[in-house]
């Protein structure tokens, strides 16, 4: 524990000793040192100059004193002298300033002490001089006056005495002007004056002697003083002090200047370092700025918080996405964005991970400032410094659009894109749920299967765009009728389903169904068209008509079939009979299996006749099916089912056989019948053994294949041309005649027509329907023309009135077939007519 604490402290200190800080600190220290040094140098220079000036002053004063001492018995105002003496003392004291002396070596102490001592001596002499000089001011003058007055008064003084007097005075003057006189001379003079004084005994002589004596001693004294004074050489001391000072100062200053220079250099180096560091920091700053810019302008929403999860930074993207400005966000917890759509565990789990110092990645459902929901994927990283969490960094991406796309895809998976209604998938899913609800709540559920009547016609005639618009309009009308709680689905091209929950009785359903039919019957105005369509509805109810989804759907479908079959534009409830009686595919398929065995299949015949002579030329065998439950079922309803169920071969052969047998009977009655034609499916033709199978029958029944024609629909040929090509040729070789049925409606290719072994072309009914008096009937003409050029016989199908017949005669068609002449009849009925 202690170790880690120490380590932490050490790391703290090391971090504190940040190099930049160190350099800065050093720089400051050295700068201070430099300044201190420079100030010190300045002070030293100043002190030195002060001392120099003091020494100069002392020199000047010394000279002044020298001048003073050279005064000869002049009056001197000693106030000035006193002042100068005091000055000299104060200068010396200044020189002896301890603070200054400290800076200099001990070399100066001796000379300064000497200076002091010598000066005191000099001062002494000056004082003496002052005293004695004052004494003799005017003395000499006075002595001369005295001498003059004595000579004047005592005129009878003999020359000798005068001479003595004069000599004494002269000698006095000599001494005064510093001419050396020896002791004996002076003594002699003195003695002479004493004798003169004694001789004359006047106070003048007394005074003269006294004055002479005192003046003499004063002069001698002054000479002595001067000598003593001259011995004291202060100037020399001053000069030596000056020199010593200079030398001291010089070395001192030099070393200090050197130090200053080196400090300056170091300071400059440190300064340069600082600049470099600063430049580096500028670079870092620039980098950070770039980062900051990147973060600021990133499309990702970036949030930084402190360790207490309070926001310290958000970028622009955040502001845009959340609607909160930076100011509003700062200091808040990111949970201000929390929507209630995520469970508590989600957040507690996230917090646990983050508290541990681990990264967390996940998706948020958040709300922005205005309360709008948005989705974010987020990656939150704890910011760790020195093993401690300092804060968190969250980088988030707004995935709302993506989620919306997902939702769209999800939507489209379960909805029809045109009408936006739920689709068949949805139906299966939702109806199961509804069934469960109905089960629990003990309510009823009705399933409507609806088919638009006549939609295909409109779609084909006016195009898919109109068809789409029609569907949308229809959807709108449905919705209008239905409640919000009713579910409507689009399950097919023009097929819809509704699931209605109800607890009332059947009348309610009747009401709805009627309403729906009525509303759909109203004309729909799509662009410039006014369209009329019908609605066929099949209704299956839970629980009466079924308890599971599949059953209900099937039964509703069956009921709708019935409605369609029975005339369309109506609604039928399911009843159990319907399952069996309605011509649903299933029903047909199931019945067909046993149809043949149950003799439900039978053949009717329709004659083809020469349009000009009106004589029957051939008959066509047509298959019919009469089922106990389903009733009469038309071939166009069950043939393709037979083909798909694989029953067509069997059925086809049955027809063939039956037709052959009946032909034989017919031929006996009507000799003009040369040909019997039987419809053949391309499936049959694909069978390679087909020709042989036919031949077996013809052999068995003893019929010549020449009298048998096989009718194949043009479109079917063209679709399967490659597969049946060989069979056709085989048949032809065997003698069978080949007829192309419904010619002109398919993809007739001239080259194929040419290549195929064709005998007769049957012009499609639609062209015959189009025959009008004022029409060119160009197509029929063309077909007749082609036939003739290829040597085919033409038969016009579906002649229903005389006009058509006459025109066809005019168009040079060979034969005709249709209700006008004769409807398809059973063999017995036909025999009767003939």
């Amino acid at each position: 524990m202690i170790n880690t604490k120490n380590n932490k402290n050490i790391t703290k200190i090391i971090r504190f000793l940040d190099p930049v800080l160190m350099i800065l600190l050093l720089f400051i220290i050295f700068l201070i040192l430099l300044i201190y040094n420079l100030t010190d140098i300045t002070t030293k220079i100043r002190d030195y100059s002060n001392q120099q000036s003091i020494i100069n002053e002392l020199k000047i004063l010394d000279t002044d004193f020298d001048n003073l001492m050279s005064q000869q018995a002049n009056f001197i105002n000693y106030d000035g002298v006193v002042t100068k003496i005091d000055q000299f003392y104060s200068y010396i004291e200044k020189l002896n300033n301890e603070q200054v002396l400290e800076k200099y070596s001990d070399n100066l102490i001796e000379p300064l002490e000497l200076l002091q001592a010598q000066w005191i001596k000099k001062h002494e002499q000056i004082e003496y001089f002052k005293s004695h000089n004052a004494s003799i001011v005017g003395s000499l003058n006075y002595i001369i006056e005295l001498t003059k007055s004595i000579k004047k008064k005592y005129y009878d003084l003999d020359k000798n005495n005068i001479f003595l007097l004069d000599t004494a005075i002269n000698n006095l003057f000599k001494i005064f002007i510093n001419i050396e006189l020896d002791e004996t001379t002076i003594q002699k003079d003195s003695n002479n004056l004493i004798s003169l004084k004694n001789k004359y005994k006047t106070h003048e002589f007394d005074f003269l002697y006294l004055k002479y004596h005192s003046t003499l001693s004063d002069i001698i004294r002054i000479n002595h003083i001067r000598k003593e004074y001259d011995n004291i050489n202060i100037k020399f001391i001053l000069e030596s002090i000056e020199l010593a000072l200079k030398k001291e100062y010089q070395t001192n200053i030099d070393s200090q200047q050197n130090m200053s220079l080196s400090i300056f250099i170091i300071t400059t180096i440190l300064f340069v370092l600082l600049i470099l560091v600063y430049l580096k920091s500028l670079k870092t700053k620039k980098e950070l700025k770039s980062f900051r810019y990147a973060v600021e302008n990133s499309d990702n929403s970036i949030v930084m918080t402190d360790k207490d999860r309070r926001i310290t930074y958000v970028n622009e993207a955040f502001e845009k996405i959340t609607g909160y400005s930076k100011k509003e966000a700062l200091g808040k917890n990111p949970n201000i964005l929390k929507s209630d759509q995520m469970p508590k565990e989600f957040y507690s789990n996230m917090n646990d991970i983050l508290d541990k110092g681990e990264k967390w990645h996940g998706e948020f459902i958040n709300i922005d400032k205005n309360g709008n929901i948005y989705y974010e994927t987020a990656s939150i990283t704890p910011i760790i410094e020195d093993d401690k969490i300092n804060g968190y960094l969250a980088i988030k991406l707004n995935v709302t659009d993506y989620i919306n796309e997902q939702e769209k895809v999800e939507f489209l998976a379960y909805h029809d894109s045109l009408t936006l209604l739920p689709n068949r998938r949805s139906l299966e899913k939702n109806v199961n749920i509804l069934l469960n609800e109905a089960k629990i709540n003990k309510t009823n559920l009705a399933i409507f299967f609806m088919d638009l009547d006549g939609f295909k016609t409109i779609n084909d005639a006016l195009g898919h765009d109109i068809g789409d618009l029609l569907l949308q309009a229809v959807t709108k009308r449905f919705r209008h009728i239905l409640r919000d709680t009713d579910h409507i689905f689009r399950i097919g091209g023009d097929e819809f389903a509704i699931a209605i929950e109800y607890s009332q009785d059947k009348d309610y359903i009747d009401l709805i169904a009627n309403k729906l039919i009525k509303t759909i019957n109203e004309p729909l105005h799509i662009e410039d068209h006014s369209l009329h369509i019908g609605l066929s509805i099949g209704v299956a109810r839970y629980p009466q008509d079924g308890e599971d989804l599949m059953t209900l759907l099937k039964h509703a479908d069956t009921a709708m079939y019935k409605a369609k079959h029975d005339g369309k534009n109506r609604y039928y409830y399911y009843n159990s009979e319907l399952s069996t009686t309605v011509h649903t595919r299933l029903n047909i398929e199931q019945s067909l299996l046993s149809a043949l065995d149950n003799n439900e299949l039978y053949v009717v015949y329709q004659p083809k006749y020469d349009v000009k002579t009106k004589t029957i030329f051939s008959i066509e065998a047509l298959l019919r099916w009469s089922n106990v439950k389903l009733g009469e079922i038309e071939p166009n309803k069950f043939i393709h089912i037979a083909e798909e169920a694989g029953l067509i071969n069997k059925i086809g052969l049955f027809v063939f056989r039956q037709a052959c047998m009946d032909f034989k009977i017919l031929q006996k009655k009507l000799k003009t019948i040369k040909l019997i034609t039987i419809n053949v499916s391309t499936i049959q033709l694909k069978d390679t053994k087909f020709t042989n199978k036919l031949l077996d029958i013809t052999k068995e029944l003893d019929i010549n294949p020449i009298n048998i024609g096989l009718e194949i629909t043009e479109t079917h040929i063209m679709k399967n041309i490659n597969n049946i090509h060989d069979t056709l040729f085989k048949l032809r070789k065997a003698g069978f005649k080949i007829l192309i049925d419904d010619f002109g409606t398919g993809y007739s290719s001239m080259s194929y027509i040419q290549k195929l072994p064709i005998d007769i072309l049957k012009i499609d009914k639609s062209f015959i329907d189009d025959i009008k008096l004022d029409n060119d009937n160009t197509i029929i003409k063309a077909i007749v023309s082609i036939s003739k050029s290829f040597g085919y016989t033409t038969v016009a199908e579906g002649i229903e009135d005389k006009i058509q017949e006459d025109i066809l005669v005019g168009l040079d068609v060979d034969y005709g077939q249709g209700f006008y002449f004769c409807k398809p009849k059973r063999i017995d009925d036909l025999m009767d007519i003939l």
Binding site: F75, N77, D79, G80, V81, V82, S135, G138, F207
Partner: protein
């Protein structure tokens, strides 16, 4: 002494006379002057509490006491005439023998002189500390009552005791009617006879030592400067006293042996100059000397 230089310079420029007038005002520290004044008049400085500075240096007697020798504690008589305290700041040294170089040094003398105040300065420091002086000193001096501070205060007070505006000073300043013709004549004689050679300057004396009795022998108990330097040359050399307010400071000379001003003029001219002045000359010079009395300090 700095102010002396200043004065000397100024007045030597404007006046070529050997005597300079006293400045009308002198810069002092008022607080120190007040404290010093209190001390000056306080007998607490003497051993038996009878003598203060003012006992001998009386404000009403020209700064002296009118006695040949002064009395000390226990009725003792001193050995030298009390010099005036007035204008004493202008003297180049203090005491007749110049043993004190300034007023502050001088102040100790009488305090510790057994025949004057007979005290011990260290004891006085202790005594004063226990009085209100402690507070008064503390108010001015950081270190309170000390030897230096006591003498400093006294000296500052003494410095303030100048007597400007004597008639002669005013005459020097340019007022020709400040003194009488007699006095002007007296001044001329003072100069011509050579009295001026010793009695000159701002204090009309007080700036050199001179031998007492140049011409002939004069009796003197005190040896003067000799007692300080022990130099035989210095025997009977005394500081030349100031002549300002001289008419107030009788008796005269260091031994106080001459009472009348006229008499001391005669004495001086005989023994210092070796001259005999006429009666007229003496009177004129005396008259001149009387013009040297200035405005006394108001205490």
């Amino acid at each position: 002494m700095k102010h002396l230089i200043y004065i000397f310079l100024i007045f030597s420029l404007s006046y070529s006379e050997p005597i300079s007038p006293i400045p009308l005002k002198i810069t002092t520290d008022n607080k120190k002057v007040a404290l010093g004044s209190k001390l000056f008049f306080d007998t607490i400085l003497s051993k038996d509490n009878t003598i203060s500075c003012a006992t001998c240096h009386r404000m009403d007697m020209g700064g002296a006491d009118g006695l040949p020798m002064s009395f000390g504690i226990n009725g003792q008589i001193g050995n030298i005439n009390t010099p005036t305290v007035f204008n004493s700041t202008f003297n180049f040294v203090q005491f007749w023998d110049g043993r004190a170089k300034n007023l502050q040094e001088q102040a100790i003398g009488p305090i510790e002189n057994p025949v004057e105040m007979g005290h011990n300065i260290d004891n006085i420091v202790e005594i004063l500390k226990s009085t209100e002086y402690h507070k008064l000193f503390k108010a001015i001096y950081k270190d309170g009552v000390t030897k230096e501070n006591i003498t400093d205060a006294i000296a500052e007070f003494e410095k303030s005791l100048i007597t400007p505006n004597s008639p002669f000073d005013n005459f020097l300043r340019g007022d020709n009617n400040a003194i009488t013709q007699n006095q002007k004549d007296g001044y001329a004689l003072f100069k011509s006879h050579g009295c001026i050679s010793c009695h000159h300057g701002i204090n009309i004396g007080g700036n050199l030592y001179a031998k007492f009795g140049v011409i002939g022998e004069v009796k003197s108990d005190s040896m003067g400067r000799f007692s300080v330097t022990k130099n035989p040359y210095d025997k009977y050399f005394f500081k030349v006293p100031t002549l300002r307010n001289i008419e107030l400071t009788s008796p005269y000379l260091h031994n106080g042996q001459i009472e009348k001003l006229e008499d001391v003029v005669k004495f001086m001219s005989h023994f210092q100059l070796g001259k005999t002045l006429t009666e007229n000359e003496v009177l004129k010079i005396t008259d001149f000397l009387k013009s040297l009395t200035g405005e006394l300090p108001k205490i």
